[in-house]
């Protein structure tokens, strides 16, 4: 699996009509990508930070098929016209990633959340391995996480050279704003990688946290999810 994600922030002055026009045009261009799987383009819900206005995400069976699709003449034109328009785009955070570690089963509808991290504080191999293992263990303790994926990026652009993509799906937003945020595994354990006061500090304080409502599985579904289930 090869996946590409963008957090898109439009210029504030853009009218509601222009925003809707942008969304429809990007949605049509995305749906036309050859071989695209589980395309997502949704407005972000309030409460994120560095989230932008829209979450755009696409998946492909593998990297070659992704490269072919994203190099297609139609997509190149659409990307230049829509995402390359500086009069329209305020900010873009972009990542591509392949074969992340994932688990759980996506709900048929609910809330999708993505965080982009830049692990740039003494990122030794040992520390990165431990950070990843502890992050992947979050769903064992925080039961509101229905599906999840942690991936290292192979491409990144935007405010930081993003190194990690951490995605989850929930039945509803309380699973994220309640259980995920308030569980002690989060604030008393995993957060030491993010807190400049802890000796373990690893992740740049500038990160992206965005979520949106979805009406179809995003991270994993059906048999491909069941193959990677690691919940206990």
């Amino acid at each position: 699996m090869f996946e590409v994600l963008k957090l898109i922030e439009l210029v504030p002055e853009l009218s509601a009509g222009d925003r809707e026009g942008f969304r429809r045009s990007l949605q049509a261009a995305t749906a036309a990508l050859p071989g695209v799987q589980r395309p997502l383009l949704e407005p972000v819900s309030p409460g994120g930070f560095n989230a932008g206005d829209f979450i755009w995400r696409v998946a492909f069976p593998d990297e070659p098929s992704a490269r072919r699709a994203l190099a297609s003449t139609a997509w190149q034109a659409a990307e230049a016209n829509l995402l390359g328009d500086r009069a329209c785009i305020q900010r873009l955070e972009q990542v591509a990633f392949a074969n992340g570690t994932r688990g759980g089963v996506s709900p048929q509808r609910g809330v999708y959340r993505v965080a982009l991290f830049c692990a740039n504080r003494a990122p030794s191999a040992e520390r990165l391995t431990r950070f990843a293992a502890e992050t992947q263990a979050m769903p064992r303790y925080i039961r509101s996480i229905r599906s999840w994926q942690l991936a290292a990026t192979c491409e990144a652009a935007g405010s930081r050279p993003w190194t990690h993509v951490w995605e989850q799906e929930y039945e509803d937003s309380t699973g994220l704003t309640g259980a995920y945020m308030m569980h002690p595994y989060h604030w008393a354990h995993i957060d030491r990688w993010f807190d400049p006061e802890w000796p373990e500090w690893l992740v740049d304080p500038t990160l992206c946290h965005a979520f949106c409502e979805v009406t179809a599985p995003v991270i994993a579904s059906g048999s491909d999810a069941e193959r990677v289930v690691t919940r206990v």
């Binding site: 309640g178 569980h183 002690p184 957060d191 993010f194 807190d195 000796p199 304080p205």
Partner: protein
């Protein structure tokens, strides 16, 4: 006021309630640096941490003598009323360059090793995870 002569600095509020969470700085200082580090911590770190909503409830020194050619170990125990207060203190400090500079530049010359941990009473573990 020197920490040597202070019986109970006004910045320390005794624990007397049901505070559920304790953030503990466990610092082993370089030989002979114990008292100087305590003074620096109290003067340069404590006011900011209090402004971020934490309460200093104890500062423990082992062994209870300022060693000159060996290392003291100091435990600073901070109390927070709950997870919301822990997050609030974290978010208040996360983007403060002075706080990062305290640990990286001001405190580092005194410190041989340190850790930070968050504790609760064992009786509260079930409730804390039931979210």
């Amino acid at each position: 006021m020197s920490s040597e002569t202070a019986s109970l600095p006004a910045t320390i509020i005794p624990a007397m309630d049901g505070s559920a969470l304790y953030v503990v700085d466990d610092v082993t200082v370089k030989p002979g640096a114990g008292e100087a580090f305590l003074d620096a911590y109290m003067a340069r770190y404590v006011p900011g941490a209090q402004a971020r909503g934490l309460r200093l409830v104890s500062r423990l020194v082992s062994p209870p003598v300022w060693l000159q050619d060996q290392s003291n170990r100091l435990l600073f125990v901070w109390a927070a009323a709950g997870a919301g207060d822990v997050w609030a203190s974290k978010f208040a400090g996360r983007t403060d360059p002075l706080l990062a500079a305290w640990w990286a530049s001001e405190a580092a010359p005194y410190i041989e090793s340190r850790s930070r941990s968050v504790f609760s009473d064992a009786a509260h573990i079930g409730a804390l995870g039931d979210v």
